[in-house]
Amino acid sequence: MSKDKILLAHGSGGKLTHDLIKEIFLPRFSNPFLKPLDDSARIANRPGQIAFTTDSHVVTPLFFPGGDIGKLAVCGTVNDLSMVGAAPSYLSLSLIVEEGFSFELLEKIVSSIHETARQASVQIVTGDTKVVEHGAAHQLFINTSGIGWIREGVNLSGLNARPGDSILLSGFIGDHEIAVLSGREGFQFREEVESDCAPLNDLVGEMLDFCSSLRCLRDPTRGGLATTLNEIASASQVGMVIEEEAIPVREAVRGICELLGFDPLYLANEGKLVAICPPDRAEGLLEVMKKHPAGRAGEIIGKVTQERPGRVMLHTSIGSHRILDMLTGGQFPRIC
């Protein structure tokens, strides 16, 4: 088998495919579900509701400060399950590889998937690999789906926010998108910003232990914090008032944003969550958050209100008010 580049034959289902599975995937994902290499993994049911999610990952570049597409894929799915109160258990892993992709890089990425899955205590139980012609995919696309069982008594949804609730954020925003940008051509910054890509299931577990009446959890990925808040405000038909001063942003991220004309409130995060909780639990929940490595820089950033349902207002750092809308159009580096 070629140890250098992935060939079309590696995706054809024949001997080369089997060799690929045996050499790259099985050694890393050795669990009783995957080992038989049946067409489907067979999983015993458990009591309660199942949460089921899917995500595709097409990030460029594949490797960036603080992470890579593999780590991103696992964290993305683990976190989506966590946000509805499910303990992530089993993941599927589908790869679409461009012909000519480096074997070494593929191994690196699969190792990263393995390591991240181990950290998050999830298992990869089924998978698929396809190889497409040169130019038909941008190096590598990954899809992960995942299931987990939702904790009993927990009802987390964007529909649940109520006037008076407190809004918490688990840490610094903007790190991930800036890190990915800095991995691209023409964007070398003096200070390296690392992606915040991380599994949040452990933090969520502790937060639910403390407060089972949490209303909603959501991770502010594409579209950023502003978009996520707007989604919840709209779904629950409530208003929100957010304190700009309370939102943690690293100095390096703030500086780069000012340079490029970006607004950190709209940048993607891959290791952060927004939590909406009853007001009397807010301080205690914040303490729980701050004790956890994934929530050290957590803050209470605002309140849910009755006024202006569906609208998020920002109380700015200079003391004025303005509307904080969801992302429209996309952000480009400013021209002048």
Partner: protein, 359 residues
């Protein structure tokens, strides 16, 4: 000094807002020329801190918004001939007469997003068998980098790179607005970064010929509040002049080195502003030694220029109307379906109103 926190200090903001309120006794209309000012004013909720009788109008300082249809159509026509087009990201979704770069890219044309003119050189050297055209838009802030890119192109003998010159100059546009006498403007908030390059000299006509005050202002909320206060004082004391608020970045003489680069490559000439029309002296022409890099020389069929009949971008750019006066605003025209350039650009007045304005 970090230049962000200090210029967003709440107490100083409050004090400046109070000073403005105490100083300004009569109704005034101030124009902020630059798109970045429009965004900053909205983003920091500055309008809400000003006295009722003080109105701010947005001006034509949005490079994406004023790039003529024809230039976009020409670049599209060239891309259909197989040339590589390099352009800034915001230009991708701007509607030309019938198409846009984004639509053309989806059809398979080679259109690439760059963040500076110098990136176009890299594309040209990496694709020696193709011709590359860089769409040069922007004001005096970015013209020095375009000039330097052209000088480098010649020095390195890159024969397959061309420049579609759609750059504009701000002072002649201000003159055209004042000469049209279509609006009542009582003072100008002048663009900070353009002025880093050109200094205060080119604006003198505003106070000397038209008797109006103007303040070169920075972009942080305290800069803008201080700039507005300086304007209010000039108005009340009836002593119109050109002042610099943005002293940490702007020198009265500007940046002579940057200016010399511009004029090594270009000379002043008339230019077309989308929605406004031709403004004398408001753009650049290639000097003879660099004429061969002018993408305007390509012989290619370009479709007739057409604008959507209901689009009010032109009047919005001149401060004659606001987006709220436009029937298409929010109904048909919104960021996901922009009819005109002012809704596409992240610093376009219509986009900014859409994003920040209270319903």
């Amino acid at each position: 000094m970090k230049f962000i926190d200090e210029f967003r200090d709440r107490e100083i903001a409050r004090a400046l807002a109070l000073r403005i309120r105490e100083t300004s006794t009569r109704p005034v209309q101030l124009m902020e020329v630059c798109g970045t000012h429009t965004v900053s004013i909205f983003r920091h909720g500055i309008r809400g801190m000003l006295p009722e009788q003080m109105k701010l109008l947005s001006g034509p300082g949005c490079p994406v918004c004023v790039t003529p249809n024809h230039d976009i159509d020409l670049a599209i026509a060239l891309s259909r001939q197989g040339l590589i087009i390099a352009t800034f990201g915001d230009m991708m979704r701007v509607p030309g007469s019938t198409s846009s770069f984004q639509k053309e890219k989806a059809e398979g044309r080679d259109i690439r997003i760059v963040s500076s003119a110098l990136e176009a050189l890299k594309i040209a050297t990496e694709n020696p068998a193709k011709q590359v055209v860089f769409l040069a838009i922007g004001f005096e802030t970015t013209s020095p980098t375009v000039a330097v890119a052209i000088l480098k192109t010649r020095a390195e003998r890159i024969g397959n790179l061309f420049f579609l010159n759609s750059q504009k100059r701000v002072p002649p546009a201000i003159r055209a607005l004042l000469e049209s006498r279509q609006l009542k403007i009582d003072g100008f908030i002048l663009p900070g970064h353009v002025s880093v390059i050109i200094g205060e000299g080119p604006y003198q006509f505003i106070s000397q010929e038209f008797g109006l005050p103007a303040v070169i202002t920075g972009f942080e909320p305290l800069d803008i509040l201080q700039g507005i206060w300086m304007l209010a004082k000039q108005i009340e004391e009836n002593r119109p002049s050109i002042e610099i608020q943005y002293r940490r970045a702007v020198r009265p003489e500007g940046n002579p080195l940057a200016m010399s680069r511009i004029y090594e490559v270009f000379e002043n000439g008339g230019a077309l502003w989308r929605g406004i029309g031709g403004i004398p002296d408001s753009g650049y022409l290639f000097r003879k030694p660099f004429g061969e890099m002018d993408a305007g020389n390509f012989h290619v069929q370009v479709e007739p220029t057409a604008e959507h009949p209901g689009c009010l971008c032109g009047e919005v750019l001149q401060g004659i109307k606001t987006p709220l006066d436009c029937r298409l605003f929010q109904t048909v025209c919104h960021p996901e379906n922009p009819i005109g350039p002012c809704m596409v650009s992240l610093e376009g007045t219509c986009f900014t109103y859409y994003k920040f304005h209270q319903p």
